[in-house]
Amino acid sequence: MKTETFRYDNRIVRAFAIATMVWGIVGMSAGLLAAVQLFWPEANLSLQFVTFGRLRPLHTNAVIFAFVGNGMFMGVYYSLQRLCKARMFSDALSWINFWGWNAIIVAAALTLPLGFTTSKEYAELEWPIDLAITLIWVAFAVNLFGTIAKRREKHLYVAIWFYIATAVTVAVLHIVNSLEVPAGAFKSYSIYAGVQDALVQWWYGHNAVAFFLTTPFLGLMYYFLPKAANRPVFSYRLSIIHFWALIFLYIWAGPHHLLYTALPDWAQSLGMVFSVMLVAPSWGGMLNGLLTLRGAWDKVRQDPVLKFMVVAVTAYGMATLEGPMLSIKSVNSLSHYTDWTIAHVHTGALGWNGFIIFSMLYWLVPRLWRTPLYSLKLANWHFWLGLLGIMFYAIPMYWAGVTQGLMWKQFTPDGFLQYPNFLETVMQIVPMYRLRAIGGTLFLVGTIVGVYNLVRTMRSGVFEPDTEAQAVVQAEASGAAEHGHRWIESKPALFTLLATVAILIGGAVEIIPMFLIRSNVPTISSVKPYTPLEVLGRDLYIREGCVGCHSQMIRPFRSETERYGEYSKSGEYVFDHPFLWGSKRTGPDLQREGGRYPDAWHYNHMEDPRSVSPGSIMPPYPWLYTQTLDTNALPARIAALRKVGVPYPPGFENGEAQKQLAAQAAKIVVNLRVGSITNAAPNAEIIGLIAYLQRLGTDIKSAPAAADAGDGSVPVAALNPNPVR
């Protein structure tokens, strides 16, 4: 038996470690600023670039892809080499991965505040950046599989399985959800519309949580927890079952984000059932993690690595019990669109992802810099500030979510809405928003303390760029051994194939029928494409991130139809590229906003929301009054929309569109004069936005009351009303 000496690459781990610390502070600060704006809108500093609608995606992207993403790569690059007993396949690919990923993050940090966004949650980045993400992800995957191929350890530890599932699934999710037709350098339209777009987006969104925020970190848990506890995982058999059950079930669960929406009922039910089943493998994994510490709990008292890890695994357990619970339709009818969801995701983000990254950092930094941790006391401060931060964040958000959800549904004994004014339900929970900001501050301060501690540790030590290691080389001489060797090498490929099949089944069963039956979707004869001015207005709605606070999806509950009007039909969204259903109502639903107020009301409201709605927490949008509509972009946008299936007549964009746009804008200016607004410029952005808002949900109001249009479309009256409650 020959022993080989080789070196693990620590430089790449250091780079990702520093990046995760820097981006962690940036992402959390952005979140804190967004949180403050929810009770003090002036905290946008009167800048359009950091107003809530644009700041929210910046925060979510920075935390998910920058903080958690770099943290994930840090852990994977450290553990993969050691589990494979091999240096990374290619140092060049490692650095392409690092610089490429961080360049993408910088691009996101520049483009999102500028309003370049697709509006699809966690997939907001525009098409050139989407392409870059694909290339960098491929670089990571090649490096991952290359390292596995040249490994000196014949067995693939379960952590690597989770990494493989991550690499494959994220690629599939990203590509399918990002299919879009460009309409300029930083503008595109999703190839899917309405219901289809919603299903694809939430298949992606849910599985981004599953395969970006969860599976890689479960792999890291299976590596770092035994390391820190200095004992093997409680049950390796359980970890195998955990893996297969989890990746098979996760992919089906996406529709639980769309319960009671216009998504077909069978897809909702499928999503709900699989979400509830998910609790089993999730808790299997959590218990496997916690039971690994049996007999080592005394270490948890002293070791910051284990302290953070235990809270992380516990938070994983809480979030994965809560997730299935929120996927039950009756619970979801209360929780959806409220801050309950925000509480849920932050248990995962702060508790699970945040704490496991801190745990890894406290493990890695002293080892890579060959020095003891600078201060155990500061690490304890970090731990308690972080834990209190999570509490102060989550509890007020639960309170706010349940309170507001109940207020939305409350009827008086006479059968009227108890709180018909949406704003009243918002003002009730503003104190909770203040408390939440305190929670966020505590967590951020804890992070800064932690980063200070880690930086001092780095400074007091000497970084070891490579770690020397030895391993026995697998026999190659005899024919039988060669056969065995080949067999082992073929296993990762077979394994990857099986994992890919497992993740594709769920997506295929749910998504493909939705496309196959496209021609059978009852289009509503009165639903027409947006006018040119409305197209530009809708693009402004997307740019400003209005979808972050306003849904466009009225669920079939009496409490919603009373408040907003007729519930939403799938046929209403056939020209919505992308869909704008939203996932949170910080403000009211806007699906039936058209015609509810005069143009002048919108004009005054957008300029200063509190002038017409005292106490509103919506920010003012003064820049919409000074910036002019980008009518030059219209031809490219109309052409792109036609490509994705909106039936604009050929050549429409050459002249006719501009003519229609000017006429509609002039009409709005006249309407504004009626409302005593005499200084409105017809080419101001606000005119486009008003046009779009006034169109929302009005198509079905002009529908014929009965009779088939004769073109296979279904008149509204023929649609099954069937409101649930």
Binding site: R82, P226, R237, W266, S269, L270
Partner: protein, 66 residues
């Protein structure tokens, strides 16, 4: 509504049944395969993170100097 059209085009009711059956097969397969594995192999696999081949230099206790 769209769900009516779907239920009319046939087979939609089976989707849930097929899906659960598929899961049951995958889950049972994984379970049986796992239970058939030798205990020694499982122990060996579980111990992999603890043996990374690094030349030992670092003293665990050093990080706890306070």
């Amino acid at each position: 509504m769209i769900k009516n059209v779907l239920s009319d085009i046939g087979g939609v009711g089976l989707y849930g049944v097929i899906s659960v059956c598929l899961f049951f097969i995958v889950f049972s397969g994984a379970l049986i395969w796992t239970l058939l594995q030798r205990r020694t192999l499982m122990n060996e696999m579980g111990g992999l993170p603890l043996n990374d081949g690094e030349t030992p230099k670092f003293n665990e206790g050093e990080s706890r100097h306070e």
